[in-house]
Symmetry: C2
Subunit: 348 residues, 2 copies
Amino acid sequence: MSGRGVLCFSRPPRVAAAGCVGGRKEAEGPLAEGFDALVEDTRCGQPSWELAESALARRALDIALEKARLAPENLDAALGGDLQNQCTALAYAMRGVNAPFVGLYNACATMAQGLGLAAALVSGGFLHRAAALASSHFCAAERQFRTPLGYGGKRTPTAQWTVTGAGAVVLAPGGPGLPADGAPVHIAGAAFGRVVDAGVTDITNMGAAMAPAAWDTIARYLAATGRTPAGLDAIFTGDLGLVGSRLLVRLAQLDGAALENHRDCGLLIYDRTRQAVGAGGSGAGCSACALCAHILPGLAAGRWRRVLLVSTGALMSQLTAQQGQSIPAVAHLVELAAGTSGQEGGSQ
Amino acid sequence: MSGRGVLCFSRPPRVAAAGCVGGRKEAEGPLAEGFDALVEDTRCGQPSWELAESALARRALDIALEKARLAPENLDAALGGDLQNQCTALAYAMRGVNAPFVGLYNACATMAQGLGLAAALVSGGFLHRAAALASSHFCAAERQFRTPLGYGGKRTPTAQWTVTGAGAVVLAPGGPGLPADGAPVHIAGAAFGRVVDAGVTDITNMGAAMAPAAWDTIARYLAATGRTPAGLDAIFTGDLGLVGSRLLVRLAQLDGAALENHRDCGLLIYDRTRQAVGAGGSGAGCSACALCAHILPGLAAGRWRRVLLVSTGALMSQLTAQQGQSIPAVAHLVELAAGTSGQEGGSQ
């Protein structure tokens, strides 16, 4: 085990505000109440699904900025990404935003990746206010990665349902003496993951492809920080779904770790017994929305004191899948803790 | 003008080493001698152009690590991206590399973006050794963005030629007392750009789409740091080509600035009079290769003391172009300076 790519913040940034927007299916799911907005028209009045996703992302960012009482021109940078080819959802969303944009792509691992980078830039004093955001849209993803909706393609039980939604989090410098104008939550640490390819070639089973990457990053973070699963109130993975979640717990067991407090955003955002979502939710918006609608409010309300968010990404494209390549995966994580004080943070 | 997203490093990281690999057309260009390797077989023995690009990226990283005398498992993170859908060139390249991977996407702005992020993470003490890398491949890009090679599509004079190549730079903490085991160059500052959409819809004229973004970032950096174009030995843009370069100089003139020391990597890497490359080179590998094959060696040799690298990216996709959308663009920059000491670096 190695501490490479593991960041512990001696000056942990605080979450100034968060905003998230979901669609119709998310409105019917268990986390509905936590969303800031739920849109009935998932086309958002736009001429394409792709621009509809841009509109969702922009709205999530606007909500977060408004809650943080921050004008876009006072945002030092927005770091984020999405699943569209060339990440056009966020590129087009940022056209009207007067703030620097740092585009990311690690598929559904984007939210924790952006939070980790933003936290480092704020903690290091390079940026004063930074936002991390991610989005996905079921209809844009279906026609890009699988088949156009009108085709009515049959789904396998292991397949997951791409979340229509976007989440944005604004970070600000932490520490004592600051006004408590946001949720009392800070980013205590982060870890960037390695690319892990377990040889899975079934693009309708991305949970299986991503589980080994999730465990790789979690195990490295625990080893580097001395944390234990029992010392964390919850470990939230991004979108492993039912299949990937079971594999993750099993992989941890094989390494002698009990992940009893593991939860998966893909299983939290929908109710599989009521909603036809296959093995659960997925998409870059999945962990972004679960973070903003469920995890941050839970930390702010004292439900948990210290949790990990482990966003997981499957890094194939439709082309590499057609070329018969296996699916590389990556997982990035952030440690979120209740309270604004960073006294306990250590160095790397 | 605003200093948002502008980073000045009080502890400027140094360039520990760089590596770059090019293809046949790059071997015939003016920068050929600066490449570490030039491959005759641009398929690199791989079954697809996409995997060939992964092989180029991996080789550039391996060369940089070897020059830095660093094993991959001692690299804290690699930050990078490419132009393939879902950025698969680097995702697949990183499969065999035992180091964390932070995937980026800002099209051809990737190299400066990755360098700026890596420099901040190293300067802030979050990572000890970090690599930034970017790649592109003419054949992979043609069939993805335009038409398959076999189609023999006609090119317009404003169109640019995607570089087949990859560049990688390893950064390490700077400051006095460190062994001078690499090129004596440090990263003095960086700026992340805003998304600028000038309304250009012609995807065969990306130079025009990107020039306004380039000037936006350069102007903001100059204003925030107090630097002047005359105080810099050169300002290298990423891949504006002939059309975009002329527009950039004109945009600067309109703001009262004379960019006499402007050079464009897309015009340096090929000889337009001898090589049929339209308006010049482009691609995420363009500024990456020009940086490693030309700019860093020039700084190390004393040819320049202080330069900007301004990588420029056009953020459309084939789909958004087909949907009639205009082309958003972004430019990120880093300031590179000769010498390893960071005494003169100021705060943000």
